[in-house]
Amino acid sequence: MIERRPLLSFSSHVIMVIGIIAVALPVWITFVAATHTTERMLVSPLPLLPGTHFWENLKMVLFTQEFLGTTRAPVWLSMTNSLIIALSIAIGKIVISLLSAFAIVYFRFPGRMLFFWMIFITLMLPVEVRILPTFEVVANLGMLDSYWGLTIPLIASATATFMFRQAFLTVPDELLEAARLDGAGPLKFFWDILLPLSRTNIAALFVILFTFGWNQYLWPLLITTKTEMHTVVMSIKQMLEVAEAVPQWNIIMMTSLVAMLPPILVVVLMQRLFVKGLVESEK
């Protein structure tokens, strides 16, 4: 900043470090818990430093079906489910939003505004406010306990459509004119020009939507009954319920750790895109 005040500048760093520690504390405690034995995790006070049972706990979490007498999907399977669902939701949202934004920006056709408003209205109808009737629709379509049921109802996206619309509007008109003179029809223009130009936007949205898809909780909770369709995020709740009786915190926390890792990695590794995606999608 402007004035040289070493003390102030030093205290800025101190505050930031305190903030980061406070924000990271829950995850540190989770990590520590995941490195100890079940027995150690029953003795108060609980440890604050990591133990030596990390790999053992990890192996148990990934491959064991039994958990305190209940059967659940081993975490490798629920992770696979989560991955399939997160990817399908992210890709599905991006594809259908790209297509509809293209139609709305580059074509003048009867009903255009009607479609625009229909997509807009989805913004006002989050799953949480129409839980029961949406569940009924999915049940009637026979989509319970299927990847279709877990993904399709979530892939309409006003936010993504608006973001692409915004991006397309900044593409100079002359580019389309040049492409027309170069003999490109609508689909060719879309594929050869618009899509490559939207690469960063697509990547940025992907980071956001992958996180969104991976972290879905209420929806999978409602429409999956078979354990082999469970996602890793929703399996936590069941484990917590069991833990009411006999806590096995090392296993629960290891599962939490594994479940939160993929989206954290995506966000941290693609930080620049993530920030862009967040900021752009709110415009």
């Binding site: 100079p172 002359e174 580019l175 004119e177 040049a178 492409a179 027309r180 003179l181 170069d182 003999g183 490109a184 060719k188 050869d192 020009i193 490559p196 130009l197 690469r199």
Partner: protein
């Protein structure tokens, strides 16, 4: 290569705004035509109608012998250079040039041959693998030209292609475009608002105003015989001086007051007299003409621009501003009175109401 025939073209937008109000131009094969006019005069709209990027409301457009009113832009056999170049930012220079050929199903070998030839002509051969953002403004401009050349079209359309360049580069590219067009012999239609660019490039100029043609002619014709006060003031810099005159007892008066010493053989009671700044001579600096126009100029400012100076001043009661373009570095004090004069054959006369040029046959008498 082909001629282009524009027959009474009209463009009316949905809101009822008339951008082009019946324009006719016959463009000969290989001719370089420049459409010039202030912004909003309809020149770009006209060009885009020729390109097929705007629909034609009324009239006929022929490229060669073919009526192309409803033909898709890609099928009109024309190429266009855009103001912002409109290069595909994600494609290499090579692919920018090749894209149109690929879409038309040219063989790979033929595409390669054409692209390299165009690159050679434009001296952009070493940039073929670069992306547009790695190029300078001038280089991008060349790529945009190259994209037009590779197609070997019947006509080039230029939409203010030099306006994004700095002044020096603009002069250089202007010369190159002119040279290239002569070498290739491709019919060209070029839009600009820069009268200097228009003068230097055109075989024939089309001056547009308010969606209508003011004048069509060679640059020299247009300069020497402007068809209207609009053309007279638009072409040439500094602009032509205009003096509104009215006749009172055989004397021509400026603003019904100051008498201006000029003889005009006409029955008209009022007209606009035009004289270019370089045709006005300061008597103190040269020999005195016995004929033509004589008046006194009250200096307001002198702008030295190097080899010559622009002397600004007022005549009459101070109501009409005049510029005189005189050689050398001149020093006059504001308020100083100078006698200025002009030869009779350098005077232009226009109808005061319509602004149209009036030729007064053998008109300007000896004073």
């Amino acid at each position: 290569m082909a001629s282009i025939q524009i027959n009474n073209l009209r463009k009316t937008y949905d809101g009822g705004v008339q951008a082009v109000k019946g324009v006719s131009i016959d463009i000969k094969d290989g001719e370089f035509i420049v459409l010039v006019g202030p912004s909003g005069c309809g020149k770009s709209t006209l060009l885009r109608m020729v390109a097929g990027l705007e629909t034609i409301t009324d009239g006929e457009l022929f490229i060669g012998d073919r009526l192309v009113n409803t033909i898709e832009p890609a099928d009109r056999d024309i190429a266009m250079v855009f103001q912002n170049y409109a290069l595909y930012p994600h494609m290499t220079v090579y692919n920018n040039l090749a894209y149109g050929l690929k879409n038309r199903g040219f063989a790979k070998a033929e595409i390669g041959k054409r692209v390299r030839k165009a690159a050679e002509i434009l001296e952009i051969g070493e940039y073929l693998e670069r992306k547009p953002r790695q190029l300078s403004g001038g280089q991008r401009q060349r790529v945009a030209m190259g994209r037009a050349i590779v197609r070997d079209p019947a006509a080039f359309l230029f939409d203010e292609p030099l306006s994004n360049l700095d002044a020096k580069l603009r002069v250089q590219m202007r010369l190159e475009i002119r040279k290239l067009q002569k070498e290739l012999g491709t019919t060209s239609l070029y839009v600009t608002h820069d009268q200097l660019e228009a003068m230097t490039l055109a075989d024939r100029l089309v001056v547009l105003s308010g969606g209508e043609v003011e004048q069509i002619g060679s640059p020299i014709d247009v300069y020497e015989k402007p068809a209207s006060t609009f053309v007279a003031t638009f072409i040439g810099s500094p602009a032509m001086n205009l003096l509104p005159l009215s006749k009172d007892d055989n004397n021509w008066k400026l603003d019904n007051s100051a008498v201006v010493d000029v003889k005009l053989s006409t029955d008209l009671a009022e007209l606009t007299l035009g004289v270019r700044p370089e045709d006005l001579v300061i008597e103190e600096l040269s020999e005195k003409f016995d004929t033509g126009l004589h008046t006194a100029l009250k200096v307001t400012a002198v702008e030295p621009v190097g080899a010559e100076s622009y002397v600004h001043g007022t005549i009459g009661e101070g109501s009409v501003d005049i510029v005189v373009r005189a050689p050398g570095k001149l020093h006059f004090e504001p308020g100083q009175i100078l006698k200025v004069t002009a030869k009779p054959d350098k005077l232009h006369t226009f109808d005061m109401l319509t602004g149209k040029r009036i030729e007064l046959q053998g008109t300007l008498e000896i004073a």
